[in-house]
Symmetry: C2
Subunit: 184 residues, 2 copies
């Protein structure tokens, strides 16, 4: 067996995740057959399911990517960047994401894969706690409560984008900042 | 044909809508077969589809009921009451609602029925505009922008409730109020 570099493995993984997201966005979860996944990803089913044990596992991993990316953006560029990124997401993909997560919520196998994938995703609460300590976010409510509020706004925005509704991101950011700002 | 009072027609309609909601919540949209709708509603298919032309039409009407009820609550008891009502909604029903609306978003017949149902639902923006005029809500952003913000919070809350996550409604209300309060 030839030795394969970590960089190569990471690139393959990335290729699979982005191709799978395109396939899910275009065809929905059920419509993204193994053949369509192969076409969109550009790899054989053998290669794909060498990385991910099932379609459930693959979807769970793709579904958590957006959270991973947004949380990463929060920690490097702040909340506004994450909100703007969500507003620019592909509406078709957000629609499939929301629908599939709602539908498979009671599927034990899917839930197990989602929980495993979410466990590896970074959390926003520690970042908020740090901002509270340095005084740039209000500290009269807990970091967990602020994180809940931000996640409700992000999820509400996702539903809105998926629905194709026009959204004024600047006023959303302005109102969010006023909610999160330290109180005099 | 015997004469039927409007009160009787309204009660029947209400019976159909609440039974249909239970059937959708328990079995999902596809799983709520005509037989199951009959069982849960307690009326024959003939009676049910005398009021609603199709399952699409029935679901669209049930789906807009929550918006009608919440908007009504806003105008009689204010925003907090509507948020608390959403937080107390049946998670199973919210899950089916979100999933079905996402999935049928590109079904022209369903969209036509949703648009017709939404047209009859009251709007929250005029209520907000009045509060801005009297000075209890901030007026440095438009009523439409405030309504968008509130609807994103409500939808984010709905997704959270559907997902079965614990939600601190008091801190949500507190942060929302600080976002919406008039600026000094």
């Amino acid at each position: 067996v030839p030795k394969v570099s970590q960089a190569h493995l990471d690139a393959r993984r990335e290729q699979i995740l982005s191709g799978a997201q395109r396939a899910f966005a275009r065809h929905g979860y059920a419509g993204a057959t193994v053949t369509r996944l192969e076409e969109e990803i550009g790899l054989s089913r053998g290669a794909i399911f060498n990385y991910f044990e099932s379609k459930h596992a693959l979807f769970a991993e793709v579904a958590t990517q957006i959270g991973v990316r947004l949380t990463g953006l929060v920690s490097t560029e702040g909340l506004d960047a994450a909100i703007r990124e969500m507003a620019a997401e592909d509406p078709a993909w957000l629609g499939v994401l929301i629908e599939t997560e709602s539908r498979l919520r009671h599927d034990a196998d899917f839930v197990r894969h989602m929980e495993a994938a979410l466990e590896r995703a970074p959390r926003i609460t520690p970042w908020i706690a740090e901002r509270q300590q340095e005084g740039s976010l209000r500290a009269d409510v807990t970091a967990t409560q602020l994180a809940q509020f931000v996640s409700m706004l992000l999820n509400g925005l996702a539903l809105r984008i998926a629905g194709g509704d026009e959204t004024d991101v600047d006023s959303l950011l302005r109102l969010m900042h006023d909610a999160l700002a330290p109180r005099e």
